[in-house]
């Protein structure tokens, strides 16, 4: 099979051997979870339980607010401890509902929509996906029901399932592809039905032969679905890059996938959609990768949403003595945690534990203008100049060089031989530009 790709990007090391090939480990029902009220870009949910209330697993404990909002469902049965202050993985503070588990998993299910996907009402699918609390499980956390209800003048002809998993170290999606291919295909068909899309594509790195074989087999009765191999390159899983690679369409500047008639969903999102629609199971569990040289038992764990990083690390055998850095997410875009009392949300893909030696970055040197950041940037920006403008707070310059087009993938910092914190400065620069724009009365 010919591998598809996009222009530029970087061949990053994989680091996936630690967890590859092992079976998914189901963890025991945790004794405590914290469910964040806000995940993704929607409004925070509004709690409808109070301290000491008994809750069942799957029960709604906070109601969705606004068109992009999602309900929060209890992932375990037990007693509400209260509404607590939390810090999410990016260090932003918010509220969450803490539940002390009683070990029960008497799941409150929804009514399945039926069996015949081709007869489902698109609006009923969107409603179900929303009430099941489903969002983009690849990391961004964008509400899935918003993706499948585009503006009325937009026509989506292609649904892509993103199996690229381009972050080094991560294997959770790979494991789901290897164990639940039929459900991925069913989820894709439901999403295609909801959008009226004629074509479905599953994009998988070409070297993951097992995943490609299993999903191709699962999709063999559906000629409208194709499985495409992808070149092993970072950031292949970035939405815009993946669409370019698979369809040759380029999302316009400042645009979204629907502007080119495409909707992209993660592997685990597809499974969650299938479970919500066909089985009536809300999104309360997911598979995460726990890995790195600093963890004793690396593996892919099926967890309950809201488990704290601290408890999850204990499940994975605990940290080694030389562990020094804990990253939520992959090594390219993940955030280093300040504290381990951080809940794993629906969009959190992994926990990476790095050793003391790996944790400190190499010393910075002067930029030699080698232009590697320019040559590798997947959106063709000029990262070094943007980073310099950011340091000097040159707002006009940052706007001229389209700082807001940066997808924050970190490729520039990764390739920089001078070890400059390029993406870090660009992200800071975006904040400076945003602040200046809002000062000028919101004009752009």
């Amino acid at each position: 099979m010919a591998s598809k790709t996009f222009k530029s990007g970087v061949m990053a090391p994989e680091f996936k051997k630690q967890t590859r090939g092992k079976e998914i480990i189901d963890i025991a029902v945790p004794r405590r979870v914290i469910l964040p009220l806000k995940e993704g870009p929607g409004d925070p949910a509004k709690p409808i339980v109070k301290k000491n209330d008994e809750v069942r697993a799957g029960q709604i404990i906070a109601e969705a607010q606004g068109g992009w909002g999602l309900p929060v469902r209890a992932s375990i049965g037990g007693k509400v401890e209260g509404i607590v202050d939390i810090r999410n993985a990016s260090g932003q503070s918010g509220k969450g509902i803490a539940i002390a588990g009683d070990g029960s998993m008497d799941l409150e299910k929804l009514e399945p929509l039926g069996n015949d996907i081709s007869r489902f009402d698109p609006e009923a699918i969107a409603k179900r996906v929303q009430e099941a609390g489903i969002l983009g499980m690849g990391g961004a956390g964008f509400p899935t029901h918003v993706k499948i209800m585009p503006p009325p003048d937009v026509k989506i002809d292609t649904v892509i399932i993103n199996g690229a998993e381009c972050e080094p170290y991560l294997t959770c999606d790979e494991k789901v592809m290897e164990t639940r291919p039929e459900e991925i295909v069913a989820g894709l068909r439901i999403l295609m039905r909801a959008l009226g899309a004629k074509k479905g594509i599953v994009g998988i790195k070409s070297h993951k032969k097992k995943s490609i074989k299993l999903i191709s087999e699962a999709a063999k009765d559906f000629p409208e679905i194709e499985v495409n191999g992808l070149v092993d390159k970072y950031p292949m899983g970035a939405e815009k890059m993946l669409i370019d690679a698979l369809t040759g369409r380029r999302v316009p500047q400042g645009g979204l996938p629907f502007h080119v008639g495409v909707a992209v969903n993660n592997i685990q999102t597809a499974v969650a959609v299938k479970e919500a629609v066909l089985d009536g199971i809300p999104l309360i569990r997911r598979v995460v990768t726990v890995t790195g040289s600093g963890i004793k038992e690396p593996g892919d764990y099926r967890v309950y949403i809201g488990i704290t990083v601290e408890e999850l690390l204990k499940e994975a055998g605990g940290m080694k003595d030389n562990a020094a850095k804990v990253v939520a997410g992959g090594p390219m875009m993940g955030q280093a945690l300040h504290q381990l009392e951080t809940p794993m949300g629906r969009a959190d893909t992994a926990v990476l534990v790095m050793t003391e030696q790996e944790s400190h970055l190499p010393p910075e040197r002067p930029c030699i203008r080698c232009a590697r950041c320019v040559d590798h940037c997947p959106v063709f920006l000029n990262p070094i100049t943007l980073a310099n403008y950011s340091e000097r707070q040159n707002i006009e310059g940052m706007e001229r060089l389209k700082i807001n087009d940066c997808i924050e993938c970190g490729t520039c910092s990764f390739v920089c031989p001078a070890k400059k914190p390029l993406v870090q400065n660009i992200i800071l620069g975006k904040g400076i530009v945003r602040e200046a724009q809002s000062r000028n009365g919101g004009s752009d």
């Binding site: 970087v10 990053a12 090391p13 680091f15 080094p168 380029r250 999302v251 316009p252 500047q253 645009g255 601290e310 940290m319 003595d321 020094a324 850095k325 804990v326 990253v327 090594p331 390219m332 875009m333 993940g334 955030q335 280093a336 945690l337 504290q339 381990l340 990476l352 790095m354 003391e356 944790s359 400190h360 970055l361 190499p362 040197r365 002067p366 030699i368 203008r369 080698c370 232009a371 320019v374 040559d375 997947p378 959106v379 920006l381 000029n382 100049t385 060089l401 389209k402 087009d405 970190g410 910092s413 990764f414 390739v415 920089c416 031989p417 001078a418 070890k419 914190p421 993406v423 870090q424």
Partner: protein, 302 residues
């Protein structure tokens, strides 16, 4: 471990192995074939000149970094000063006196690099600044082409030479520029290791070939003669003094090629390569400013 001691840094948490010293060291390795060729053609004094220039450049860099109260040791370890010294030596006639070579290196590092703020901030290729200074100050010594103990003209200066002699480098000329074979070997290494951008030598050499064909000169002779190969693979490609955008890099290389050809065919001074690169170095900030690459998904301006 104690969780209050978590290391917190910004993503990405892994970095590529390549480093600034690695890149500079790689270019030095790529210069080894040309150094061997120079030693065979011009004798052991070539090695002495190269070593003297490199040492003088490193010492000058170290003194300046100390005066500027920078961490001198770490900076000098990046091999960039040594590279400047070696490249300067490659542009010198094989009879250059030691003191002149040292003076050239001091000027290259001081005027070519440190007064702009050191590595990464210089506008001109430092080695070529050193060479231009020596050419202006000692024009006789800088055109004293000796081969096998007798003074001779260079092929560009009118001496007869076959293209094979030019290719192997058994002719009069500057120390490191005569053997196209050795320079191409090193150039292939640079391209293979992705230490230089292929657009630069291709645009530069390509422009010379096209112009030679247009005016009816032998393109092979122009490719092999003089310092064109050395300039194409080692001087024009200096990352610090070449453009950041791909579009800018094409213009930079092609215009430099046009300049070198014009100097050779219609000018009467030597040093076309030297001045073509120094002139285009000046254009780099403009190219960067006005020829940015098109951004992903950018809508074509109407």
């Amino acid at each position: 471990m104690a969780t209050d001691k978590l290391v917190v840094t910004h993503a990405p948490h892994i970095r590529d192995r390549d480093s600034v010293p690695g890149i500079m060291g790689g270019v030095l390795i790529a210069l080894v074939p040309a150094l061997i060729a120079a030693t065979i053609v011009f004798g052991w004094y070539s090695l002495v000149l190269v070593a003297v220039c490199a040492a003088a450049a490193v010492v000058t860099e170290w003194v300046w970094m100390a005066l500027r109260q920078k961490e001198a040791k770490a900076i000098v370890q990046d091999y960039s000063a040594a590279l400047t010294g070696v490249l300067l030596a490659f542009t010198l006639p094989p009879t250059t006196p030691i003191w002149m070579a040292i003076l050239g290196s001091v000027v290259a590092i001081t005027i070519g690099k440190q007064i702009f703020g050191g590595l990464g901030f210089n506008i001109f290729n430092p080695a070529l600044v050193g060479r231009a200074f020596l050419t202006a100050s000692f024009p006789m010594a800088m055109t004293d082409w000796v081969l096998d103990g007798t003074s001779t003209a260079t092929p560009l200066g009118g001496a007869a030479a076959t293209n094979l002699e030019l290719f192997l480098g058994t002719i009069g000329g500057s120390l490191g520029e005569t053997s196209a074979l050795a320079l191409l070997l090193g150039g292939a290494y640079l391209l293979y290791k992705r230490l230089i951008d292929w657009r630069l030598p291709l645009g530069y050499l390509g422009a010379v070939v096209v112009l030679a064909l247009l005016v009816g000169e032998d393109p092979i002779f122009h490719l092999l003669a003089g310092g064109l190969m050395l300039g194409a693979f080692y001087m024009l490609t200096d990352p610090v003094t070449s453009p950041l955008s791909r579009k800018g890099r094409w213009i930079y290389a092609v215009v430099a090629g046009i300049i070198v050809f014009m100097v050779r065919v219609w000018g009467d001074a030597p040093g076309g390569v030297l001045y073509s690169i120094l002139i285009m170095n000046m254009a780099v900030p403009l190219l960067d400013r006005f020829l940015p690459d098109r951004i992903f998904g950018e809508v074509k301006a109407k």
